[in-house]
C-alpha cells in the first residue's frame, strides 16, 4: 500500500487534496474486490517488469483504476494519470492517488473541455515510454500535438472499442507511430467488461439516476454487441420488455433468436419508456426520434462517447430545460409539454450516474491491460507499429487467475485428449 498522507506532487491538478483519506478508503475497498490484480501485483513486485518506465495513462479516475495504477507502480513504473472522462472522475480517489509516490494525477470531476485536454498534456509531459488509453484521446493528442514525444513511446494499451476503432483508422492511414494492444478484444475482457460489466452497471446507473421500476417498462436497447446484449439480458431479468435496435443483420438475428423484439429506432421511439444506446456509433437517437417519444421517456447512453444521443438536437427541440431534476438527470420539456429525461448529459451512464463497472469486472479488464503492457514491452523483436490483438495465452492466463481467485477448478486436457484434438487422423 502507498503511504497515507498527502505528498505534494508537481503537476497534479486535482480538486482537493483533503479528500485523500476518503479516496484511500475507497481504493482499499476496490482492492479487496480485485483479487486478480492483487496476485499480479505480488508477482510484478518481485519481477519489476516495467522498472523505470514512465507511463502516461488516460483512464477513468476511479478506485478500480487506482488499483491498476498500484500494480503498474509495483512493476516499477512511474504513472502519470489524466481523466478519460471529465464526469467520471472520483475526486477523492484522485486526491489519494496524487498522494502516492511516483504518481501524478491531473483530473477533476466536471472539468471543461479545455481543462480536459490540458490534463492530457500534463500526463504527456512525462515523455512516456508506455501509454494506457481509454477512448483514444491521449494517443490522438500525442500524435497531433506532441509528435516530438512519439519516438520515445515503446507502445500502448487501449481499453475501449471506440478507441481501438480510432487506432485502426490511424494504422490504416499509416499515422500510428507505435504498437498498441487492443485490450478490449480479449475474450475475457469482452465477456466480463462489456457484457456482464456494462450490462449490470448501465442499469445500475439508470436506477440510481431515476429510481424507476424497470419491471413492466418497455426498454429500448440500441446495439446488440456484447454491451447491448448484457444490458438487454439484465433488463429482461428485471422484468422489462426489451426492444433491440440494430444495424448489423447478424447481431439483429441473434437478438431475435434470443426472443427480443427487434425494430428500427423510428418504430421503437414511440414505444420506449427507457432508451439505452450501446452502439459505439453516433446519432442513434436523433431529433426525429425524440419528437415521437412518450412523455417521461428516459434517455441514457452506455456507449463511450456522448454522440449516440443527439444532445444538441434535444436542446434545440426543447422549450425548457430543467437541469438536475435529480442528480445526473436533466429534464427537457418539448413544445407540446412532453418531458424527456436525459441522464448523464448523454455521456456514459454507468460511469456518470453509477460507479462504473463493479470492481470484479475491472479486475479482469485491467489484468488483461497490465499483462498486455508487459508482453508489449518485453516482446523481442519489438512489435511493429499497428494494432495488435491480445495474445491467446494472455487471455487464458487472465481467465485462469480469475477462476483461481473464485475457487473454481477446471479440468485439464489429458495428453491423449490433446493428441486427439491435434490430430487429423481420427475420424468416424
Amino acid at each position: 500500500m502507498p503511504p497515507d498522507g498527502p505528498v505534494p506532487t508537481a503537476g497534479s491538478g486535482i480538486a482537493g487534496p483533503g479528500l485523500a483519506a476518503a479516496g484511500q478508503a475507497r481504493i482499499g475497498w476496490a482492492e479487496r474486490t480485485m483479487p486478480v490484480l492483487g496476485l499480479i501485483r505480488e508477482s510484478f513486485a518481485a519481477s519489476r517488469p516495467l522498472d523505470g518506465l514512465a507511463v502516461a495513462a488516460c483512464l477513468h479516475v476511479t478506485a478500480e483504476t487506482a488499483v491498476l495504477v498500484n500494480v503498474l507502480r509495483a512493476a516499477g513504473a512511474r504513472v502519470h494519470l489524466a481523466a478519460s472522462n471529465p464526469l467520471s472522475t472520483q475526486d477523492d480517489v484522485a486526491a489519494a492517488l496524487a498522494s502516492w509516490p511516483g504518481v501524478t494525477v491531473s483530473a477533476r470531476s466536471g472539468a471543461g473541455r479545455e481543462t480536459y485536454y490540458r490534463h492530457i498534456h500534463q500526463a504527456l509531459d512525462s515523455a512516456p515510454a508506455l501509454v494506457f488509453d481509454d477512448g483514444g484521446d491521449l494517443v490522438n493528442t500525442l500524435h497531433e500535438d506532441r509528435p516530438e514525444l512519439l519516438a520515445g513511446v515503446a507502445g500502448g494499451v487501449e481499453s475501449t472499442t471506440t478507441g481501438v476503432a480510432r487506432l485502426r483508422r490511424m494504422a490504416a492511414a499509416g499515422t500510428l507511430a507505435f504498437p498498441v494492444v487492443a485490450a478490449n478484444g480479449a475474450a475475457t475482457r469482452r465477456m466480463l467488461d462489456n457484457r456482464y460489466g456494462t450490462g449490470q452497471s448501465a442499469l445500475d446507473g439508470i436506477l440510481r439516476a431515476t429510481n424507476t421500476l424497470l419491471a413492466g417498462k418497455t426498454v429500448v436497447v440500441s446495439g446488440y454487441g456484447p454491451a447491448g446484449t448484457g444490458i438487454a439480458e439484465r433488463a429482461r431479468g428485471l422484468g422489462a420488455q426489451v426492444v433491440v435496435t440494430e444495424t448489423d443483420p447478424v447481431r439483429a438475428l441473434d437478438a431475435v433468436m434470443a426472443g427480443f423484439r427487434v425494430l428500427p429506432m423510428a418504430a421503437a421511439a414511440p414505444l420506449g419508456e427507457v432508451f439505452i444506446t450501446a452502439t459505439g456509433s453516433r446519432d442513434v437517437i436523433t431529433p426525429a426520434h425524440l419528437e415521437v417519444m412518450r412523455d417521461g421517456a428516459i434517455l441514457a447512453n452506455a456507449g463511450h462517447f456522448d454522440v449516440e444521443i443527439d444532445v444538441r438536437g434535444l436542446e434545440k427541440l426543447a422549450v425548457t430545460v430543467n437541469p438536475q431534476i435529480r442528480p445526473s438527470a436533466d429534464e427537457y420539456v418539448l413544445a407540446d409539454g412532453r418531458r424527456l429525461i436525459l441522464l448523464a448529459e448523454g455521456r456514459v451512464v454507468n460511469l456518470v450516474a453509477g460507479e462504473g463497472h463493479p470492481a470484479a469486472v475491472m479486475d479482469v479488464s485491467f489484468t488483461v491491460g497490465a499483462l498486455s503492457a508487459v508482453w508489449l514491452t518485453s516482446a523481442r523483436p519489438p512489435l511493429p507499429p499497428g494494432v495488435h490483438e491480445v495474445p491467446a495465452e494472455t487471455d487464458a492466463q487472465a481467465a485462469g487467475l480469475m477462476l483461481a481467485c473464485m475457487g473454481t477448478e477446471i479440468d485439464e486436457l489429458t495428453p491423449g485428449q490433446q493428441e486427439y484434438l491435434d490430430s487429423w487422423r481420427y475420424g468416424s
Binding site: A215, G216, R236, L238, G239, A240, Q241, V242, L253, V256, M257, A258, G259, F260, R261
Partner: protein
C-alpha cells in the same frame, strides 16, 4: 349394454409387457407414490377399502392404482375419457406385476382407447359393480362421472323411474339415461345402496370439483368429497410446471419448427398461461400475452411480456396458444388474418377455445392432414394455418401430457385423500373439503429427496417468532404461493 361380469376389458393383453416396462420407469419418476407405499405398506390403511377409480388409464395412473393396492385397497378402474387410455398401461394393470398374459392377476380394469359413448358408460358401470353384487365404498374421480352415475342412479331409484331425454339433450345424456333405465329394471335399489355405503369421493379436476360444489349447494350431495384439485401441490404442478413442460414438447413433436426467434401469443396468464409463456421464452421466442383480467395482465407486464389483444397480434405472430379456460378465444376471422403457416394450438381443458367449427365453415377452406393431430387448413387465398390436435389439448394430443413427476404430485394427493376419507370418515362431514395444509406440505416433502433438495428446519425459537409449529403447517390457508 348389461353387465357381463368380465374380470376386465382392455384392448390387447399382449401389450402388457411394454406397459410394465413403462410403469417401471414411471415408478422412479413418481417418488411421492413410492414413498407412500413405503410409509403405509405395513399398516395397510386402505384394508377394507373398495375403490372405484374413474381416471385416465395411463402409465402414471397404473402407478397410482398399484399404490392403492399396495396399501390395502381393492380397486376397480375405468378411464374418464374415451380417448385417453394408454392400451399398454391398461393391459399391464390387468395382468398385474405378478401375473402373466395367460394368467392375469391384476385388477379389474375396463378401459381402451377409442371407446364409444355407450362403451364408456358401460366401463364406468363395470368399475362400480363388484362381482358379489356389492359396490364400492370409496370413489376416486376425475371429472365426476363415477360420482354422477351413482347420484343420478340413486335419484331415479328414489323417484321410481328414469326420465326420458329431452330433444335438446346431448347424446351422452341419452346414453346415461338408457344405462340407468336398464339398471333400474335389473337391480332396483343398486345405486341407492352404493350411495349409502360410499364413505367419500376424492376428485381430481376443476370440472369435477365444480360439479361437487354445485351438488353441495343444492343439497343433493350424498357423501363427503375431498377436492384434490386445489391442493397447491396438485394445481401448481398440473397447471404451471406440467404445461411448461408439455407445451413445448407438443409443439416440437407436431411441427419441429425452431421456436427461437418466433413471436408467440399466449392467451391467458393464469397458472397454465404462466407456464406456457415461460417455456416459450426459454426457447427464445418473443412472447406476447393476451388477458381480460387486469391483475393477470399486470403480472404479465411486470414479468416483461408485451400484453396486447389478439387483434393486435393476429397478423404478426407465428405461434398462438390458448390457455384461458374460456371459449371463442381464437376465432375463424383471427385465423383467416394470420401469417402463412401460423401454428395454432390449445392447452386449455376444453376444445372450444379455438373456433374449429367456424374454421371448418369458412368458405373455400380445405383441410390437409399432415400427420396425426397436425392439420394444415388452407384458406381460399392460398395461405394456411397449422392446427394442432384439432383444437383439443395439444399437450395431450401432440405430446404425452404431463410427465410422471407432475402426476406423482397429483396422485400422492389422491392417495393421501383416500386414506384420510377412509380412515377418518367422521372428521369429514358431508360437504366438499380441501386437503388440510399439512397434508399438502407432506406431498411436497415426499418429492424433495428425489430432487436432492436440502430443506432447512425451523428452530423452535424461529417457529415461535412467526407463530407456526416447527413441523408445519407453515402458511395460513389463504396464502397464495
Amino acid at each position: 349394454m348389461s353387465a357381463e361380469n368380465l374380470p376386465f376389458k382392455v384392448a390387447d393383453l399382449s401389450l402388457a409387457e411394454f406397459g410394465r416396462k413403462e410403469i417401471r420407469l414411471a415408478e422412479h419418476e413418481m417418488p411421492g407414490l413410492m414413498a407412500v407405499r413405503e410409509e403405509y405398506g405395513r399398516s395397510q390403511p386402505l384394508r377394507g377399502a373398495r375403490i372405484t377409480g374413474s381416471l385416465h388409464m395411463t402409465v402414471q395412473t397404473a402407478v397410482l392404482i398399484e399404490t392403492l393396492v399396495a396399501i390395502g385397497a381393492e380397486v376397480r378402474w375405468c378411464s374418464c375419457n374415451i380417448f385417453s387410455t394408454q392400451d399398454h398401461a391398461a393391459a399391464a394393470v390387468a395382468v398385474g406385476p405378478d401375473g402373466t398374459q395367460d394368467d392375469p392377476r391384476g385388477i379389474p380394469v375396463f378401459a381402451w382407447k377409442g371407446e364409444s359413448l355407450p362403451e364408456y358408460w358401460w366401463c364406468t358401470e363395470q368399475a362400480l359393480s363388484w362381482p358379489d353384487g356389492a359396490g364400492p365404498n370409496m370413489l376416486l374421480d376425475d371429472g365426476g362421472d363415477a360420482t354422477l352415475l351413482v347420484h343420478k342412479g340413486a335419484e331415479y331409484e328414489t323417484a321410481g323411474a328414469v326420465p326420458s331425454a329431452a330433444e335438446e339433450d346431448p347424446e351422452e345424456w341419452r346414453v346415461i339415461l338408457d344405462l340407468l333405465r336398464a339398471s333400474l329394471a335389473e337391480a332396483p335399489g343398486k345405486w341407492t345402496a352404493v350411495a349409502g355405503q360410499v364413505r367419500g369421493v376424492t376428485e381430481e379436476t376443476t370440472t369435477g370439483v365444480h360439479r361437487l360444489y354445485e351438488m353441495a349447494t343444492a343439497g343433493t350431495l350424498r357423501f363427503p368429497a375431498i377436492n384434490v384439485n386445489d391442493s397447491v401441490t396438485k394445481s401448481k404442478f398440473d397447471n404451471k410446471y406440467g404445461c411448461r413442460h408439455s407445451l413445448v414438447d407438443g409443439i416440437n413433436r407436431a411441427t419441429d419448427v425452431l421456436i427461437g426467434g418466433k413471436v408467440a401469443v399466449v392467451c391467458g396468464y393464469g397458472d397454465v398461461g404462466k407456464g406456457c409463456a415461460e417455456s416459450l421464452r426459454g426457447q427464445g421466442a418473443r412472447v406476447v400475452v393476451t388477458e381480460i383480467d387486469p391483475i393477470c395482465a399486470l403480472q404479465a407486464a411486470m414479468d416483461g411480456y408485451q400484453v396486447a389483444t389478439i387483434e393486435d397480434m393476429v397478423g404478426q405472430a407465428d405461434i398462438f396458444i390458448s390457455a384461458t379456460g374460456n371459449y371463442g378465444i381464437i376465432t375463424a376471422d383471427h385465423m383467416a388474418a394470420m401469417k402463412h403457416q401460423a401454428i395454432v394450438g390449445n392447452i386449455g381443458h376444453f376444445d372450444n377455445e379455438i373456433d374449429m367449427a367456424g374454421l371448418a365453415r369458412t368458405p373455400g377452406i380445405t383441410r390437409i392432414n399432415i400427420k396425426p393431430q397436425v392439420d394444415e387448413w388452407v384458406f381460399a387465398d392460398g395461405h394456411s394455418v397449422i392446427i394442432l390436435s384439432e383444437g383439443r389439448l395439444l399437450n395431450l394430443g401432440n405430446a404425452t401430457g404431463h410427465p410422471s413427476f407432475v402426476m406423482s404430485n397429483s396422485f400422492t394427493n389422491q392417495v393421501i385423500a383416500q386414506v384420510e376419507l377412509f380412515t377418518k370418515t367422521a372428521e369429514y362431514p358431508l360437504g366438499v373439503h380441501v386437503l388440510p395444509k399439512h397434508l399438502d406440505e407432506k406431498v411436497a416433502r415426499l418429492h424433495l429427496d428425489a430432487l436432492g433438495v436440502r430443506l432447512t428446519r425451523l428452530s423452535k425459537e424461529q417457529a415461535d417468532y412467526i407463530g407456526v409449529p416447527v413441523d408445519g403447517p407453515y402458511k395460513p390457508d389463504h396464502y397464495r404461493y
